[in-house]
Amino acid sequence: MNTVQNFELYAPKLIEKREFFSSGHRACQGCGEVLGLRMIMKALGEDVVVSNATGCMEIISTAYPHTAWETPYIHVAFENAAAVGSGVEAGLKALRRKGKIADRDVKSVAIAGDGGTVDIGLQSLSGAMERGHDMVFFCLDNEAYMNTGIQRSSATPFMAATTTSPAGKAIKGQRTGKKNVAEIMVAHNLAYVATACPSYPLDLMEKVKKAKAVKGPAYVHVYTVCPTGWRAASEQTIKLGRLVVETGIFPLYEVENGKYRLTLETPEPRRPVEDYLKLQGRFRHLDPSDIAKVQALVDKEYRKLMHKVKTSVPWS
């Protein structure tokens, strides 16, 4: 695999030492989402204002009078992180132009979970991206409404059991496949769209930096393992994040001005999805024919992506 040799020697040089999301928060053991968030904040640096949606990351970090945020931070509600972030961007822009604040680049960043992005926050996200605000939106996708108790979202994968898509006798879990919001963002003509996973920290942080450098809207979809919600062992977080990429379920790619590129080539033949599914209680009810259905869906989505990787050309 494409792991970095002597990582522990290089890492201190490659990674920002300062923490902008501090320890002492209330995330679960093995939380992949907070790990992703920590890396995002390191890569963004200090000149940001974060607009956060209601959700796990908000709840674990901001129990008044405590805060884990070392950067300016605002939380208003669940579905409006992008709208709040667009207001922050407009406010900073106007104040800077009128000489009311320092003449300095400060990036507006909106962060939401999958529910706050792909479901209830989709309209607000689409609006903010379409309007062309100079901001980055991060979706921290753990594939269900974890903060309210593991209910299905439209980011929940096919056949996964959640508390509102249970593995019943008649219906075996989530009935539909995952909504592809990264594609919807590409359709907004964003200069930069990427997928990332904290199991690949350097790849993730590189993408965060690229997204921040864009003058205009950018979107990064971060796959974040939730051992609590997925009924998985908390020490398997990094491994699950690697397996989801190696199986091709969640390929790591970026789209720069319409040009698709895999940032991590998955060796062929890809690992079977079963390697990934069998480590999680949410897929425990799947029999071999179900696994075959999941494999077929993953293969189809992967083919679609690879076609774009091979044929897409930059817009400009």
């Binding site: 200090e46 000149d47 940001v48 204002v49 607009s51 908000e58 709840i59 901001t62 129990a63 008044y64 009078p65 405590h66 805060t67 945020w69 070392e70 950067t71 300016p72 931070y73 605002i74 939380h75 208003v76 509600a77 579905e79 409006n80 992008a82 709208a83 709040v84 972030g85 667009s86 207001g87 922050v88 961007e89 407009a90 406010g91 900073l92 822009k93 106007a94 104040l95 132009r97 009128k98 009311k100 604040i101 320092a102 400060v106 309209q123 607000s124 689409s126 609006g127 903010a128 379409e130 309007r131």
Partner: protein, 387 residues
């Protein structure tokens, strides 16, 4: 002070905002607010003011963008109406709890269903408990003056609360009235730049909108209530400053011919103008009738109302909204409750009328005064309803 010009009130509202050196406006169009949205975008796109105009995809996002922008220290404005205000509802108490001085104009319109685009107060009443300062303008000049005043009130260090200025849809927003605009220099003198208490900036990072555990939530809500109650003092102070500079007086409760009146009509919004004509007619006929007008709905001006209705035996409350299955119209319900312990409180007659743009004429007011005299109890009544 400039000379009087004829202008549509909605356009005038946007012109007034244009005088206030705003930094950000986030507006979504809705009838009958749309002329405010359109004209404000004209002002920005023509470069008459230096501001960001965010053409949001919904009212939910307009109030959310206003919250974000206001948190950076910017002076922000939005305007809406009816369904738009209902769509914002979720965010309104968050804006007031975060003490963000967002200024809003609301072109009052009936709430669906059934769909109706015309005027009443069913949109603002459900927002009553949101912790905002709620004001009502009666005519176009008040819309101009109170829009400018709103920024000073909202941003004042002793207030720091959002404000909503209600202007009746169509019946006020679409009227062409002779209006007087203060000059830019006069507004600059009255309204200095915003001095924010806290801002979102890396120079001094802070977290806004942290959640409250049960141990502190009640305290936060009480603090908001106290801030809203205390804001009245500053509102009155700012209105006095306005009167001193511009000569037009503003009070939380206005009275018209109440001296010696044993019966008084109570209105809120543009209806007061028609009611005053009815009072003139009744006075001419020798009837001791007066008019009381609420300018401030939140914080509720109880002391001022008590003073205004001194000696009143029958108070006729004109409610343009309904609390279904409850005690009647929201204004009468509230006034009854507030005056409950007053020994010499007037009998309160509650008429629900003027819903969804139904015209209420001078004759209707006179008729209601007559009916009120005959009414035995304090139950509410739908006036002019066809059954």
């Amino acid at each position: 002070m400039g000379k009087r010009i004829g202008m549509e009130v909605g356009i005038a509202a946007a012109e007034a905002v244009g005088l206030c050196n705003i930094d950000v406006a986030a507006v979504y169009p809705i009838t009958p607010q749309s002329h405010i949205a359109e004209h404000l975008s004209d002002i920005v796109h023509d470069g008459r003011i230096d501001a960001e105009f965010i053409t949001v995809e919904s009212e939910h996002s307009s109030i959310s963008a206003c919250a974000g922008a206001s948190a950076t220290g910017a002076r922000v404005y939005t305007a809406t109406s009816s369904q738009g205000l209902m769509y914002m509802h979720e965010i309104l108490p968050i804006v007031s709890a975060m003490r963000l001085p967002v200024v809003m104009g609301n072109a009052n319109r009936a709430v669906s269903g059934p769909l109706n685009i015309w005027n009443d107060h069913t949109d603002i009443m459900p927002q009553r408990d949101s912790g905002w300062i709620v004001m009502h303008a009666e005519n176009g000049q008040e819309v101009i003056d109170m829009t400018i005043q709103s920024f000073k009130i909202a941003e004042h260090a002793d207030v720091m609360l959002p404000t909503v200025l209600n202007m009746d849809g169509f019946q006020l927003t679409h009227m062409i009235e002779p209006l007087e605009f203060p000059t830019q220099a006069e507004v600059n003198k009255f309204l200095p730049d915003r001095v924010p208490y806290a801002t979102l900036h890396p120079d001094k990072p802070m977290s806004m909108g942290c959640f409250n555990m049960p141990e502190i939530f009640t305290e936060t809500l009480k603090a908001k209530d106290t801030a809203l109650i205390n804001s009245k003092k500053t509102i009155v102070k700012i209105w006095n400053e306005w009167e001193k500079q511009f000569g037009r007086a503003y009070k939380p409760v206005e009275t018209y011919k109440t001296k010696g009146a044993d019966t008084m009509i109570l209105t809120m919004g543009s209806m007061g103008e028609t009611a005053s004509v009815a009072v003139d007619e009744l006075r001419k006929a020798g009837k001791p009738i007066g008019l009381v007008k609420l300018r401030l709905w939140r914080p509720f001006p109880l002391e001022e109302l008590r003073m205004a209705i001194k000696g009143c035996k029958t108070l006729i409350v004109m409610d343009r909204a309904v609390s279904f299955g409850g005690a009647g119209g929201p204004m009468a319900t509230e006034i009854k409750s507030l005056l409950f312990h007053d020994k010499d409180r007037p009998r309160i007659v509650d008429f629900i009328m003027g819903l969804g743009g139904r015209d209420v004429t001078v004759e209707n007011f006179i008729d209601m005064v007559m009916r009120a005299g005959k009414k035995k109890d304090e139950s509410y009544e739908y006036y002019g309803v066809r059954e």
